[in-house]
């Protein structure tokens, strides 16, 4: 596992697979966003990742870092909801950390994503336990030091663990205790990103 090297094509496959999974799961994401959000998460993510795929098809970047940076920029421009700048920041910051290397190791990817996750927390002023995407991203990135499969599992468990939490950030926080009992849509889509990462790495 530690010798695995990831090239730009791997990152293009990851983003493309993520777009397909988000497309498939869009209704579920929107459904999760209905009781505690404004019921647009699935549609927003679909629009954002469709723009990412289009960009990758027309002008595929040459390095792993460039793929993530360009994908992040597309998400910021095209999602239309808070998940745009949040996911955009995650990928863009990770891309910047990966720099211009033609290939990166799994450990380099992990440390890039860790920097991205920190940037997301800073942008949203949130921390794990606030019932946000961080509740899936943080355990996912941590478990990436074990394996892609472990990261996918940890992110999924993190997303499920948002159900009993009370939202402290975003629109859901206006609901106070009524936000308890629902899974956070952003944590759910974050888990999907780790699931597709494990899928393309298999």
């Amino acid at each position: 596992m530690s010798e695995t090297v990831l090239d730009a094509a791997f990152f293009v496959r990851w983003m493309t697979a993520a777009a397909a999974v988000i497309d498939r799961e869009a209704d579920r994401l929107t459904e999760l966003d209905s009781p505690i959000g404004d019921a647009d998460h699935g549609r927003n993510m679909q629009r954002g990742f469709a723009a990412v795929v289009k960009m990758l098809e027309t002008e595929p970047p040459a390095t792993p870092g460039a793929v993530l940076t360009a994908a992040g920029r597309q998400l910021i421009s095209s999602v239309g909801g808070a998940s745009g700048p949040l996911y955009g920041t995650l990928l863009r910051r990770a891309g910047k950390v990966l720099g211009e290397a033609p290939q990166v190791s799994v450990e380099e990817l992990r440390s890039g994503l860790a920097a991205g996750v920190d940037a997301v927390g800073q942008l949203g002023g949130s921390a794990p336990g606030d019932k946000t995407m961080l509740d899936a991203l943080v355990p996912g990135v941590t478990a990436l030091s074990t394996s892609f499969a472990a990261a996918a599992e940890a992110a999924e468990q993190g997303a499920l663990a948002t159900v009993p939490l009370q939202a402290r950030k975003g629109r859901a926080s206006y609901l106070g205790e009524r936000s308890i009992g629902h899974q956070d849509p952003g944590a759910a889509s974050s888990a999907l990103l780790f699931a597709t990462l494990a899928e393309v790495a298999r």
Binding site: D38, D40, N44, R73, I76, S77, S78, G80, G81, A82, S83, G84, P85, L86, G88, T89, R92, L123, G124, G170, R171
Partner: protein, 146 residues
Amino acid sequence: MSAETTGGAAGGEGVPVGVVLVSHSGPVAESVAAMAAGLAGGGNTAPVAAAGGTPDGGLGTSAELIIKAARTVDRGAGVAILVDLGSAVLTVKSLVAEGDELPAGARLVDAPFVEGAVAAVVTASSGADLDAVAAAAGEAYGYRKE
């Protein structure tokens, strides 16, 4: 609201700070822009542009509209960007962090949306610099209504 700009952020005498109003709703952004310009006394007011909703007219935030609005009002003395909530805040923050799509000297201003917009446009129209415009808009938080 003419489209000519001076580019750059060199600042300079007699050049007003631009103001951009970002709301989840197009009509809200447009109306607040019209109200702020109206209360600033009509006539020779600072350039104001609205960036509300999504390009297709829906509710949300559009980086594209924000960038376009900021470029439209940039006269070289900086651009004060006021936002309503949620994705509007996060989108502008991430655009500022990106650093190459907004005009140099564009800044997110922490202020209440409506009251801050009026304060910003009035102050910018008086020829004040970006720091003064941002401070005036932020001071609108301190005005108690009860």
